[in-house]
């Protein structure tokens, strides 16, 4: 399992170095093992540098930059070992319009492999849905749903 962890880590790391600049339209990021000699206990550090900015502690990144970096990592793992479905609950909340556009583009690509279910309040994100489930509470405390098929396959 030590070898499997190392292999998976390297694959995810390679993907992460690809996905981050796609979401940030530039810049670079990499994962680092905090203890290369102890694969059973080592932690994983994230090093991220948005385009044009100097490399600094990830803690100094903005709310939107942190969310987008986390999305880059999650999606990288997903691309290496896809699940049948991926549920994202308001992940786009801290993102501005430009970043939501790039986020949606990658989700579209990944939805060829797996089923994506995205909860959102954002109109731009709603636009990439093929089916929209509207959840309502006309009767207070009682949830109902209405589904709208947008695209036919």
């Amino acid at each position: 399992t030590r070898r499997r962890f190392r292999e998976t880590f390297d694959q995810v790391n390679a993907k992460f170095q690809e996905v981050f600049p796609r979401l940030f339209r530039g810049g670079k990021a990499v994962l680092k093992l905090s203890d290369e000699d102890d694969l059973l206990e080592t932690g994983i550090d994230i090093v991220a540098q948005p385009p044009g900015k100097k490399l600094q502690n990830v803690t100094l990144l903005s709310g939107g930059e942190k969310a987008l970096t986390a999305v880059a990592l999650i999606f990288s793992i997903f691309m290496i070992k896809p699940s049948p479905f991926c549920l994202l609950d308001e992940v786009d909340a801290p993102l501005d319009d430009a970043n939501i556009g790039r986020f949606n583009e990658i989700v579209r690509e990944m939805s060829e492999i797996s089923q994506f279910i995205i909860i959102t309040h954002n109109k731009r994100t709603m636009e990439i849905a093929d089916t929209l489930y509207g959840v309502t509470m006309e009767e207070p405390g009682v949830s109902k749903t209405v589904s709208v098929r947008i695209n036919e396959y």
Binding site: T1, K66, D89, L132, V135, M137, G141
Partner: protein, 168 residues
């Protein structure tokens, strides 16, 4: 194995039986604050065997049973079913002849739990093993709950390794 359908009744704010078809393509879920969108995510986690009420925003597991509203009485049971399609024959040996595999979980207010696969009673262990074998169990990176995306960057490096471990 693809997910086909989710059926919810008596779970949190889904009083009446509600079915979600997992149709082709991207599914968007929308609606005002508090209408029940995140409760759908909780229902999926719960059907996969979630044992921690805290992970479902509750204090005790009984909190997931519909507790009533101004127009409805509380219910005595919560039930969620998750249906998988087995068209590609990828299911574990025991279920190979089924075209559909339905996992059902029930919780009664007295604390009793029931677990079923294709309407046959089974143990929680059978359900978690089925999810493991079909690759659906990797919740850590396939379910990102509301407000939790920040945890990836704020986590201690040691706490982040489970993301790689689940994929390994």
């Amino acid at each position: 194995m693809k997910i086909k359908r989710l059926d919810i009744v008596g779970f949190k704010s889904f009083v009446d039986k509600t079915s979600f078809e997992f149709s082709e393509g991207i599914i968007g879920v929308v609606g005002p604050n508090g209408c029940g969108k995140s409760n759908i995510v909780d229902a999926i986690r719960w059907s996969m065997g979630e044992q921690s009420a805290k992970q479902l925003r509750g204090k005790a597991m009984e909190d997931v049973i519909f507790g009533g509203s101004e127009s409805r009485k509380p219910l005595g049971m919560a039930e969620v079913s998750l249906a998988f399609s087995n068209d590609e024959g990828l299911a574990p040996a025991a279920y190979r002849e089924y075209s559909e595999i339905v996992v059902t979980r029930r919780l009664y207010r007295n604390g009793d739990s029931e677990y079923l696969i294709n309407k046959t009673p089974c143990r929680l262990l059978d359900i978690t093993e089925l999810f493991m074998d079909t690759g659906v169990g990797a919740k850590a990176y396939s379910i990102i709950e509301q407000g939790k995306i920040g945890m990836v960057l704020n986590a201690k490096p040691e706490d982040r390794r489970f993301l790689i471990e689940e994929a390994a």
